[in-house]
């Protein structure tokens, strides 16, 4: 069944009212942007996520979390997207947690994540495009541990994070999955240089330069040379989650636009009466519904441990990316001049879509992965 259970409906309703009340553009995104907050999000809100149990949404119950899955995370992220609420929820509570599960590093960081005190970041990308297969950051054995050297970018909340999960190569050649190892690196590690970068959507992502950063053997998440397993768990969760968030972004932009079509008058009538706009709005509605179905399906298959999960995650991220791109472009266009102003909120949707589409791979990357899995 692809429909939500009663418990899931309840969680969705809770997230809806929580974020509509506390996570609005005015109170969060615009506020932190205008006050030039170095984190780009509010720690107070992150504490509220924690009080509702949401920072531990996918942390196992025996570790103090809610023990829920990708589906529940998707429901929360849809509302995060709709309100453009800045928070570490996607990267810390949804993606990083999946990398850390079942490891000693998980036991170390979960309590802080649960209490809303800890932010975790993922350092995967090394160039301007998401190419996890091409990880070149080097980890060399040294004494009881390793030294890491290389550079990373698009590390969401990297400058605010207490711990950064760094994917590096301990063996194997470029493009090979074997030989990748995931390290939990603390923010104050010697040799770790963090440049805090503001992105288009006013969120923060860091560029990291690692110069012989010494870490001990305990910092390895999972097994040496087998970091692809925790990394791909995190990437799948992050991709499915960002697909759901994109669906929320698209829905928020489309709803705002539909409302505008019902208010704005030109040529003596409401612009929503014009058939050309009606048809474009209806087409957009269809594309968003399909993207939502794909995002829910990907989450359902991840939760079921299906062997089709990875394929559907790629489908969902690609479809959500394209649908959201259409939504924000149509949104700004149909708003006309006011849509180009900073005063109006519709532009924030366009900026967030651009960042979320690139995060964990843009739609082209994921369409390419669909072709690769299918063998053409």
């Amino acid at each position: 069944m692809t429909l939500l259970t009663d418990d899931q409906h309840q969680l969705h309703d809770m997230a809806k009212s929580f974020l509509a009340e506390e996570g609005t553009i005015k109170q969060q995104l615009r506020h932190w942007r205008d006050t030039e907050c170095k984190d780009g999000f509010g720690h107070g809100l992150w504490k509220q996520f924690a009080e509702l149990g949401l920072t531990g949404i996918t942390i196992p119950e025996d570790k103090g979390g809610l023990g829920l899955g990708a589906t529940e995370a998707a429901l929360v992220l849809e509302e995060v997207g709709r309100n453009l609420t800045p928070s570490p929820f996607l990267t810390t509570a949804v993606a990083a947690v999946r990398a850390l599960e079942g490891s000693a590093q998980g036991d170390r960081w979960f309590p802080g994540i649960l209490s809303g005190d800890t932010v975790a970041a993922l350092a995967v990308d090394e160039g301007k495009h998401h190419r996890p297969g091409a990880i070149a950051t080097k980890a060399t054995r040294s004494g009881n541990g390793f030294t890491l050297s290389g550079s990373k970018q698009f590390v969401v909340h990297g400058a605010s994070a207490d711990v950064i999960l760094v994917a590096a190569r301990t063996g194997g050649g470029q493009g090979e999955r074997e030989g990748v190892t995931l390290f939990a690196v603390e923010r104050d590690a010697a040799g770790l240089e963090i440049e805090n970068v503001s992105l288009t959507d006013h969120s923060k992502a860091a560029r990291l330069t690692l110069t012989d950063v010494a870490v001990d053997a305990d910092s390895v998440v999972g097994e040496v040379d087998s970091g692809w397993a925790p990394l791909s768990r995190a990437l799948n969760a992050g991709r499915a989650g960002s697909a759901a968030e994109l669906v929320g972004v698209a829905s928020g932009a489309a709803d705002m636009t539909t409302d505008y079509l019902k208010q704005r008058k030109q040529f003596g009538k409401l612009i929503g009466e014009f058939q050309t706009l009606q048809h474009r709005a209806a087409h957009l509605f269809s594309e968003i519904e399909i993207a939502r179905a794909a995002a829910y399906k990907a989450a359902e298959l991840l939760d079921a441990g299906s062997d089709r999960a990875e394929l559907l995650v790629h489908v969902a991220k690609a479809k959500a990316g394209r649908s959201a791109a259409l939504a924000v472009q149509e949104g700004v266009q149909m708003h006309g001049g006011i849509g180009m102003t900073d005063e109006h909120d519709i532009g924030f949707y366009m900026k967030r879509q651009a960042v979320l589409d690139r995060l964990f791979g843009d739609w082209r990357f994921h369409a390419g992965e669909v072709a690769r899995i299918a063998g053409y």
Binding site: F285, A293, A367, V370
Partner: protein, 387 residues
């Protein structure tokens, strides 16, 4: 979600029954349009296997898995019907019977028919004994369907029908027709009735229409003083538009299924080698759309069965599914290059790719154009003004 214990039993039993009763030939994809079983009075089975498969499925009511048992249906719950579908798909079992009676008329009869009408017509549909066609469009009433002029006069003991229908799918092969007729001129939508009659009735004639594909799946249907018994109106007289709209919802669901053309299979796997990077990118983008639409279809059917679907959602499914199917065939033609342009060679099985490609262009016209569907979404879902 995992099956409950009862559903697990049902799945096992269904799997065993299909294994024992679905002939191997019926687990192969249909080879051509002639290979599809439509049933009817004059049915000509292409093989013993086809006949045996239809009879076995009809005997269990599984040609209509979720119709009530009292009318010959399978009486399955939505969850059981879904399992049957999954198990059939698993072994590649063909649909035993293609039927407008099943996909369109049946649901309308179940909702609006009298008990006598249900008893009379539904079991024949389940068994594939009567082949139905649909008389909706007229030369002057296409997208503006409610402008139809075919007239049915109340002659006391019968209706007298005069007029012309067009785009009547397979009218030349059908046994009966369900037909929209004007029974009052006082109101446009409120003067339409939903009538059933035998195509062998005196005064009914059909003429196939040759299409750009070279096929003639549609006909013109002429009614010249056709007498129809009074008890063959479905729903109330002059309230046929309600029945018509309800049925159109089911028609749109059926047509939207075309977006699933290749089911869950990927287009990029089925078009042969792709050596052009631009085409590869287009096909990959298409496969994303197709797999996402497959997820949407599954969700839509679940919503429908749970009574959670917005009444205008079939329009969205019809719109998206048909546009997707057209795109699929554009890409098949692109991937095939000059080979797929051959119109009557044996290499292309008499121009199958090109003719199918042309056929798909009707998908976004029949059953209400894409533009009509978008208008319905704008009005009923988005509630835009003046739509």
């Amino acid at each position: 979600m995992a099956d409950t214990a009862e559903l697990t039993d049902f799945r096992t039993q269904t799997r065993d029954w299909l294994e024992a009763n679905c002939p191997p030939e019926m687990r192969e994809p249909v080879k051509s349009e002639d290979d599809v079983c439509w049933g009817g009075r004059h049915v000509q089975f292409q093989s013993d296997a086809q006949k045996q498969w239809l009879e076995a499925m009809a005997a269990r009511g599984w040609t209509t898995p979720d119709w009530p048992k009292e009318y010959g249906g399978g009486g399955l719950t939505p969850a059981e019907a879904k399992i049957l579908k999954e198990e059939m798909r698993r072994i590649g079992a063909r649909n035993p019977l293609n039927s407008f009676g099943i996909s369109m008329l049946g649901p309308a009869l179940l909702k609006y028919g009298t008990e006598a009408q249900k008893q009379r017509f539904l079991p024949e549909i389940v068994r594939g004994e009567i082949r139905w066609c649909q008389g909706y469009s007229e030369p002057g009433a296409g997208s503006d369907l409610a402008g139809l002029q075919t007239k049915a006069e109340d002659m006391g003991d019968h209706w007298l029908v005069n007029g012309q229908k067009v785009w009547t799918s397979y009218a030349d092969k059908a046994d009966w027709i369900f037909c929209l007729v004007r029974t009052s001129t006082e109101s446009k939508h409120g003067g339409i009735s939903f009538l059933l009659f035998d195509m062998e009735s005196e005064g009914v004639s059909t003429k196939p229409i040759l299409l750009i594909s070279g096929y003639s799946p549609f006909c013109e249907t002429f009614m010249d003083n056709v007498k129809v018994p009074k008890d063959q109106v479905v729903g109330e007289v002059n309230k046929g538009w309600d029945v018509a709209k309800y049925l159109l919802g089911h028609e749109r669901e059926m047509i939207s299924g075309m977006g699933l053309g290749g089911g869950a299979s990927l287009l990029g796997k089925s078009v042969g080698e792709i050596d052009d990077p631009v085409l590869r990118a287009e096909v990959a983008a298409f496969d994303v759309d197709a797999l996402a639409f497959a997820a949407m279809s599954e969700r839509f059917i679940d919503q429908l069965k749970a009574g959670e679907a917005h009444p205008a959602m079939p329009s969205m499914m019809k719109y998206s599914g048909t546009e997707l199917n057209k795109k699929r065939h554009e890409l098949i033609m692109a991937a095939g290059g000059a080979d797929t342009l051959e119109w009557d060679s044996d290499r292309t099985r008499k121009g199958k790719p090109a003719r199918e490609w042309l056929r798909t262009k009707a998908n976004s016209i029949e059953g209400g154009t894409s533009e009509v569907q978008l208008g319905i979404i704008a009005k009923h879902i988005l509630r835009l003004p003046g739509a």
